[in-house]
Amino acid sequence: MRPEEDRGARLRRLRWHCRRALLELDLVFQRFWRQAGDDLNDSDAAALERLLELEDHDLWELASGRRDTDDPQLRGIVERLRQA
């Protein structure tokens, strides 16, 4: 989270960062937000923030289930993406 950023602004920033280079990811994140809405808690938001640092192709491999993550902080959010 950035200094002085309120929760609403943080979620809106994260939503924008879910605009990706690949359509597949745009669609996965669109569904994810429809389900998660603004209910994302701070630790989910922090995990999502880290996930969004990944390159698009790597992110798609995780979201599509082709690859798993060995990062415990990311496991939960990856699972939610797959279920979305």
């Binding site: 609403g8 602004a9 809106r12 920033r13 939503r15 924008w16 605009r19 990706r20 280079a21 690949l22 359509l23 597949e24 990811l25 745009d26 669609l27 996965v28 390159e55 698009d56 192709h57 599509s64 289930g65 082709r66």
Partner: protein, 595 residues
């Protein structure tokens, strides 16, 4: 109202392949260069390009730029400008080797040279047999290209404005382009970027269609800005489609699925391709398959509650074959169609992939528009490259791997021309006309104050459905005519969209409303240009312009061998001739496009 002004020698809008290549040219020449981009540069849609970049290096077998040029002219169905095509094909080796020196990890031959593979439409000896011309970095060519170019730009001190959306061109009364207005997403602040050279590299607008392979960022922002500033859009009726995209999602199902034995079926389960192509059946060429699918849907034999898709069936294949040879397709189908193709067929429709038309330019990357008696006069201070531009090298149909080449060659060329122009200009920056800035502020103010109106999501969906149903891969005179009136109705809604969220910080609702204002310009331009072109050529295929002995493939060179120019003001159309004279070689003469 007064807004902050920032001054640069050059401002580039868009940080995909074309924008980064142009920026590099400017920064390395010592000019103060800004790049504005909605998303982080390496998340631009260039990332999605897998196929490779075409160059007649001849590393695997004999090749020549002239053969590449022939293939590109033929691929364009003779609508491409032959001077620009010669320029691009001759420059290909240079820009690819440059990229290699920037650290691009191309696949290699055992001898250490760039490995080249064959790709559809690329042939040796003027169409004789397939040639290995595509240079790739595994299946991540676009991604690797962006990284190499981005790193190089960082080294050259290019100044990046990430998460900034350009809103309008600033043009003065003489028509000179003096920069852009832009929105900083993090603060909601509007800033004027003043520059001596403004380069658009904003990519395509594939999101005008309901079914599209394009990422959500591809909203044709550059085209919208150019159209609002009085610049025409060229050849907007030409869009490349893939026959099989997941219905409702647009995600591409590779043609390899039909290669492995996939069968297309209609609502009664019939293998309908047997009627349209008795020999090739489901393996017929892209256009034949797309046309058959659309005909089935139009004649009421589509599937689903709205009868708006057909089925791609691979349930008869051994599950082992699907798992081994088509694993990605199974993932995509489960994710986006909700069906496991081992058990159930995949719902598919033709899906929009690439925009051949765009902002008219010459091969130097200058934006050109009619002025006085000439149809192509350079607009001072304005340049464009990549998918948003129309040089025109793709004409009516693009060859695979020529899009990455386009953005390297014309990104560099636009950058070089801008460097020359800025360096020879001795004058200070001109004052920015307040009227141009007010136009942006009025658009923002309307969104901030609009209380009742149309929803952004609903209006976008109406636009996408109208484009898909009335101006898709296979076109009908009556549907196009009806489409023109429908899309103009949607445009009225877009002018009165309302957003609930009026906040400033990362207001994605406002950004989407502004993007829709750009998309609708492209949609209107496409529909009107397509309705008017009464022939079939390349990707523009009309039911009432069929293949005849007199007009093979429905192409009518006598009346329609010309570029369309659509002007926003009054939705006026004009036409300009195709440049049939190359730079140094003889004209590639007109003939039937057949493979």
């Amino acid at each position: 109202m007064k807004i902050t002004k920032r001054t640069f020698d050059a401002v580039i809008v868009g940080a995909g392949g074309a924008g980064l290549r142009a920026a590099l040219q400017l920064s390395e020449s010592g000019l103060k260069t800004a790049v504005l981009t909605k998303v982080f540069p390496t998340r631009s849609h260039t990332v999605a390009a897998q196929g490779g970049v075409a160059a007649s290096l001849g590393n695997s077998e004999e090749d020549h730029w002239h053969w590449h040029m022939y293939d590109t002219v033929k691929g364009s169905d003779w609508l491409g400008d032959q001077d620009a095509i010669e320029f691009m094909c001759r420059k290909a080796n240079e820009v690819v080797i440059e990229l290699e020196h920037y650290g691009m990890p191309f696949d290699r031959t055992d001898a250490g040279k760039i490995y080249q593979r064959p790709f559809g439409g690329h042939m040796s000896n003027f169409g004789e047999k397939p040639v290995r011309r595509s240079c790739a970095a595994a299946d991540r060519t676009g991604h690797a290209m962006l990284h190499a170019l981005y790193q190089r730009n960082v080294r050259a001190n290019t100044q990046f404005f990430v998460e900034w959306m350009a809103l309008d061109l600033i043009r003065d009364a003489e028509g000179e382009v003096l920069g852009v207005t832009a929105l900083e997403m993090e603060t909601g602040e509007i800033v004027a970027f003043q520059s001596k050279a403004t380069i658009f590299a904003t990519g395509g607008a594939g999101r005008i269609y309901h079914s599209s392979t394009n990422a959500f960022i591809n909203t044709g922002d550059g085209l919208g800005m150019a159209a609002r500033a009085g610049i025409p859009l060229e050849d907007m009726e030409f869009w490349q489609f893939h026959p099989t995209g997941v219905a409702g999602a647009g995600v591409l199902i590779t043609e390899g699925v039909r290669g492995e034995g996939g069968i297309l079926r209609n609502s009664s389960g019939e293998r309908f391709m047997e009627r349209y192509a008795p020999n090739a059946k489901d393996l017929a060429s892209r256009d034949v398959v797309s046309r058959a699918m659309v005909t089935e849907i139009n004649e009421g034999r589509g599937c689903g509650p709205n009868k708006d898709f057909v089925l791609l069936d691979i349930t008869h294949l051994d599950p082992k074959v699907i798992m081994q040879r088509l694993p990605g397709i199974r993932e995509i189908s489960i994710q986006f169609a909700g069906t496991d193709p081992i058990k159930e067929p995949i719902p598919v429709v033709p899906t929009c992939h690439y925009q051949m038309g765009g902002i008219p330019t010459n091969y130097s990357g200058q934006v050109v528009a009619p002025r006085g008696s000439s149809m192509s006069v350079a607009v001072p201070g304005f340049y464009a490259a990549g998918e948003c531009a129309c040089a025109s090298v793709h004409g009516a149909n693009r060859l695979g791997t020529n899009s990455l080449l386009d953005l390297l060659v014309f990104g560099k060329s636009a950058g070089e021309t801008a460097v020359e122009d800025v360096k020879k200009s001795t004058k200070a920056h001109k004052d920015l006309p307040q009227e141009a800035i007010e136009r942006t502020l009025e658009r923002i103010n309307r969104l901030d104050t609009q209380r009742d109106g149309a929803g952004v999501h609903e209006s976008r969906l109406a636009m996408q459905r109208t484009m898909q149903n009335h101006c898709g891969v296979f076109r009908f005179a009556d549907k196009l005519k009806e489409g023109v009136s429908k899309i103009l109705d949607v445009q009225k809604d877009v002018q009165r969209t309302v957003i609930k969220d009026k906040s400033k910080v990362f207001n994605t609702a406002r950004i989407e409303a502004l993007e829709l204002e750009n998309l609708i310009e492209v949609a209107v331009a496409t529909m009107i240009s397509a309705e008017a072109r009464k022939e079939s050529r390349g990707a523009h295929v009309r039911d009432d312009a069929p293949d005849t002995a007199e007009r093979p493939n429905g192409r009518d060179d006598q009346n329609w061998l010309k570029h369309t120019l659509w002007f926003k003001e009054g939705n006026r159309l004009d036409y300009k001739s195709v440049k049939l004279t190359p730079l140094t070689v003889p004209t590639i003469e007109l003939k039937k496009r057949a493979y």
